[in-house]
């Protein structure tokens, strides 16, 4: 797939970020395989499941292949267990004529099936019972990745689905699945196998004297190392598997070529954190080197704020102002304040009731302002002394002209800017201070994410990106996956506060 550009880079961002259009990618009948890769813990499985669901609800016949042993896809798709065959996922919106199937790779089962399919009864049994085979198929380094590719090849060959969405194994390097088939192939084609198969033949060739010496040393060494019995197990295994080796190699190569073909789209999944994006950059480079078609980057767990015009610094200063006022109130807390409580509380309640019903329409007006111009002009023009008494920490002064509502009349002469030292208002002030600190934290996070993303975009300007806003909790059900799908397909990529 060619990367889909959105054309107009977002204006707020100094580094142009190309938008990734997910829907055309999923809708394109030419797209047959989508591979989600990325480091652990960035939401690869959820992304794969969400893409699968979205494609299915947009009318395609989709199968999602997950390889993760944690059975997470099963959880997020609301299926109790996934076995080695695709199961239809119920409860999706099939008005567009699509279907969703899901499966979880059982690598031992996949390996066994290959053996059973390619060897006759006795021979298959001999292989399946071989201790060496049993360990190999139970999943040591490389087997999982190899079997994932094998299964992908099988699913593609069945041609029952328009689209296969693959989640890659949680490998030490998430691109192991590209290397494993090659490694297995080179091993199966290698000299060692020939040695194990027919040591006499190799040794007997002319001009192979050196190898011959090496050979006896080597069989000796292997025997020493593994124990004679293991060596015999390996030899028996290799002999039994003999006819299948060619097949393994051929299929591994075919799957590899399938991944390079135009019907395949790789999506690199990452979180907007330094390490995750560093790894994503590595994937991008590696995919390019392997000539694998990269569709773009999915940036998960991106944060935003509806109040991005309020900078972290200003929010912190305002929180401090509130905290200081509270401390002062504590000091001068007198019985008189308590007497007034009831009355002011009532007044406050009236005001609150009134305000509660209000829909604030202007909210959007200032939302998209970059944080640099957070100080509003009207605030600057105000008389700073009439605001908060403890306002030394507040950089912009207060907007006292707007204080002409009922609360401004009840300001205490002690200089507190708040209506009164009532307990309710104190609790609200305390909460507000917390809200401001929370916001300051959020704004610092936004700035960090923005920096990280820009660094990546500067390094890889050719990579299209889509962003998924962070959710407070985990995704458990189809509705959650659908929501993620909507976010994946939303455009353009948001700048903080967008």
């Amino acid at each position: 797939m060619t990367p889909r550009t959105q054309g107009t880079p977002s204006e707020e961002s100094p580094v142009p970020i190309r938008g990734l259009d997910v829907d055309p990618l999923l809708d394109d009948p030419q797209t047959r395989i989508v591979v989600c890769c990325g480091s652990g813990g960035v939401g690869k499985t959820t992304t794969a499941a969400a893409l699968g669901l979205r494609a299915a609800e947009r009318g395609r016949r989709v199968v999602v292949l997950t390889i993760d042993p944690a059975r997470r896809l099963a959880q997020s798709m609301g299926i109790d267990s996934l076995d080695n065959t695709p199961r239809r996922v119920k409860g999706i919106d099939d008005t567009a004529g699509g279907e969703l199937h899901a499966m979880m790779l059982d690598m031992k089962r996949t390996f066994d099936e290959i053996v059973e399919a390619h060897a006759d009864g006795d021979r298959a049994r001999a292989i399946l019972e071989n201790p060496f085979y049993q360990s190999l198929s139970a999943g040591f380094a490389g087997t999982q990745e190899y079997m994932a590719m094998e299964k992908l090849g099988q699913l593609r060959a069945r041609d029952e689905w328009d689209l296969i969405v693959v989640d890659t194994p949680p490998s030490r390097s998430a691109l192991d699945f590209l290397d494993a088939p090659k490694r297995l192939g080179s091993f199966l084609d290698g000299k060692l196998i020939r040695v194990l198969m027919a040591p006499a033949k190799v040794g007997g060739r002319a001009g192979m004297k050196f190898l011959n010496v090496g050979m006896s040393m080597m069989t000796g060494a292997l025997g020493k190392l593994l124990g004679g019995q293991l060596l015999r197990d390996v030899q028996t295994f290799v002999a039994a598997m003999d006819t299948m080796f060619g097949g393994f190699r051929t299929r591994a190569d075919a799957t590899y070529r399938l991944l390079q073909a135009p019907g395949t789209a790789f999506l690199v999944v990452a979180a907007p954190e330094r390490d995750a994006l560093r790894e994503a950059a590595y994937f991008v480079e590696r995919l390019a080197a392997e000539r694998m078609p990269l569709a773009g980057l999915v940036l998960n767990r991106v944060h935003g704020s509806g109040a991005a015009h309020l900078s972290a610094e200003r929010a912190t200063a305002a929180a401090e102002a509130l905290d200081e006022t509270a401390a002062e109130d504590l000091d001068e807390a007198g019985a008189s304040a308590l007497d007034e409580t009831a009355e002011t509380a009532e007044t406050a309640a009236e005001v609150l009731d009134e305000a509660d019903g209000q829909v604030v329409d202007e909210t959007d007006m200032e939302m998209d302002r970059p944080e640099g111009i957070a100080d509003r002009p009207e605030g600057k023009a105000e008389d700073r002394t009439s605001g908060v008494t403890s306002g030394s920490g507040s950089p912009s002064g207060s907007d006292s002209s707007s204080g002409s509502d009922s609360s401004s009349g009840s300001r205490s002469p002690s200089g507190s800017s708040r209506p009164n030292g009532t307990r309710d208002q104190q609790a609200v002030d305390h909460l507000t201070s917390g809200l401001l600190k929370l916001h300051a934290e959020r704004m610092r996070l936004l700035a960090r994410e923005q920096r990280t993303r820009e660094r990546f975009a500067a390094l890889h300007p050719e990579v299209s990106m889509t962003e998924v806003a962070a959710l407070p909790g985990d995704v458990h059900d189809l509705a959650g996956l659908r929501d993620i799908g909507d976010r994946l397909a939303a455009r353009p990529p948001k700048t903080p506060g967008g």
Partner: protein, 385 residues
């Protein structure tokens, strides 16, 4: 103000640590924040004695294996642990087995060769060494050590036997990796002292951990005789003894916590020694219980607007600057409350696992050397070393 977050990592003069959270309180401060849970003996009490800074365990296993779900910060925690254990002139070895060069990235050095080299000096003169175990070189190393197979090793390599042994042969790769770590645990210098006081292994993620550690058992079953068999048996003896502790790193999120619970069950079933649970990247408490209750009950919007206005953020009247902040700020508070509730549930799940729990804060500015030292200090104060 939360005394935990206020005091930070540096001990104030005469301060004392909260044993449950490992943070410092100013002298005389009471430990009564919502985060200070039952189990913190300092709860609600003024600190007793300023010198009681380090809680020492009677026995700290010499091989500390650190695992966890991908993305939880295993490597970071392993490195912080190696620093924390390298106190008072002790030597620790931080071992990497997955060829990711995560240690080099973390310590901001060039890629580590297959060689033990010093990467950090801890406060008090302790030293941290690091080793990235390469299975291929480990095998050649092993052959050389036990069989003096210099030339034959090269011949083996040429034939692809080393490749075979380290990438394809079942479990052999893992025996070599764990075997090398165990060798470092048992190695002694000329005077008969251990070469390293502690060996900390940055292990594969939880999903593959038990298979990785138990692989020696599997190989021992496969190779029923011979040196690999013996080697595997010897390694298993170390791994299953109290000399080893397996720690799991998690986040306060559902999936990592579930994986931690599964991992512990698997480790127990395989009779591998479980150590501690380290909750990483714990976010600071920004809204206390009182404020959270207000958010839940639905705080009057105008009251919040007035507070914001009083703090200098514009007018409180409808459409005023402060008023317009209310919706987004309360929205962020709702998100915080949802996450807070989720985190509380996850803490409960973790507490039921019956292992000592530790928490490390989220370092907002990302991980660097300063951050590592900060985490190491936290671990030390929580009595992990």
């Amino acid at each position: 103000m939360n005394p935990h977050s206020a005091a930070g990592a540096r001990p104030p003069a005469g301060g004392s640590p909260c044993p449950a959270y490992g943070t410092w309180r100013a002298p005389g401060a009471r430990c009564r924040t919502p985060r200070c849970r039952p189990g913190c003996p300092q709860e609600g009490r003024p600190p007793a004695y300023a010198g009681a800074a380090l809680v020492r365990l009677e026995y700290v296993s010499r091989l500390q294996v650190v695992s966890g779900k991908g993305g939880t910060g295993k490597t970071t925690v392993a490195a912080a642990l190696a620093l924390a254990l390298a106190t008072e002139g002790r030597r620790t070895l931080l071992v990497e087995v997955e060829g990711r060069q995560g240690i080099a990235q973390l310590f901001e050095t060039e890629a580590l060769p297959y060689e033990e080299r010093r990467i950090a000096v801890a406060p008090g003169g302790g030293e941290v060494f690091a080793l990235a175990i390469d299975p291929e070189l480990a095998l050649l190393d092993y052959l050389q050590m036990f069989y003096k197979l210099g030339g034959a090793g090269r011949a083996l390599k040429k034939l692809g036997a080393i490749d075979f042994a380290t990438t394809i042969a079942p479990g052999l790769r893992d025996v070599l990796l764990t075997g090398k770590a165990c060798e470092a645990v048992r190695r002694k210098d000329k005077r008969g002292r251990f070469a390293y006081d502690y060996v900390i292994m940055d292990a594969p993620p939880t999903g593959r951990l038990t298979r990785f550690l138990n692989v020696n058992d599997e190989v021992a079953g496969l190779a029923r005789i011979g040196p690999i068999h013996n080697q595997a048996q010897a390694v298993m003896r170390v791994l299953k003894s109290p000399e080893t502790a397996v720690h799991l790193v998690t986040l306060l999120e559902e999936m990592p916590v579930q994986e931690t619970a599964d991992g512990i069950a698997e480790l127990r079933a395989a009779r591998l020694p479980t150590g501690r649970i380290i909750v990483n990247m714990v976010r600071p408490t920004l809204l206390d219980e009182t404020s959270l209750a207000l958010v839940r009950e639905g705080v009057p919007r105008a009251a919040v607007a007035r507070s914001l206005s009083a703090a200098g953020l514009g007018g409180a009247r409808r459409g005023g600057g402060a008023d317009r902040l209310v919706t987004p700020l309360l929205g962020q508070a709702d998100e915080y409350a949802a996450r807070h509730a989720l985190e509380r549930d996850q803490r409960t799940v973790l507490a039921e696992l019956g292992l000592p729990l530790h928490e490390l804060p989220l370092l907002a500015e990302g991980m660097d050397m300063a951050g590592l030292f900060q985490l190491a200090t936290r671990l030390r104060r929580q009595g992990i070393s």
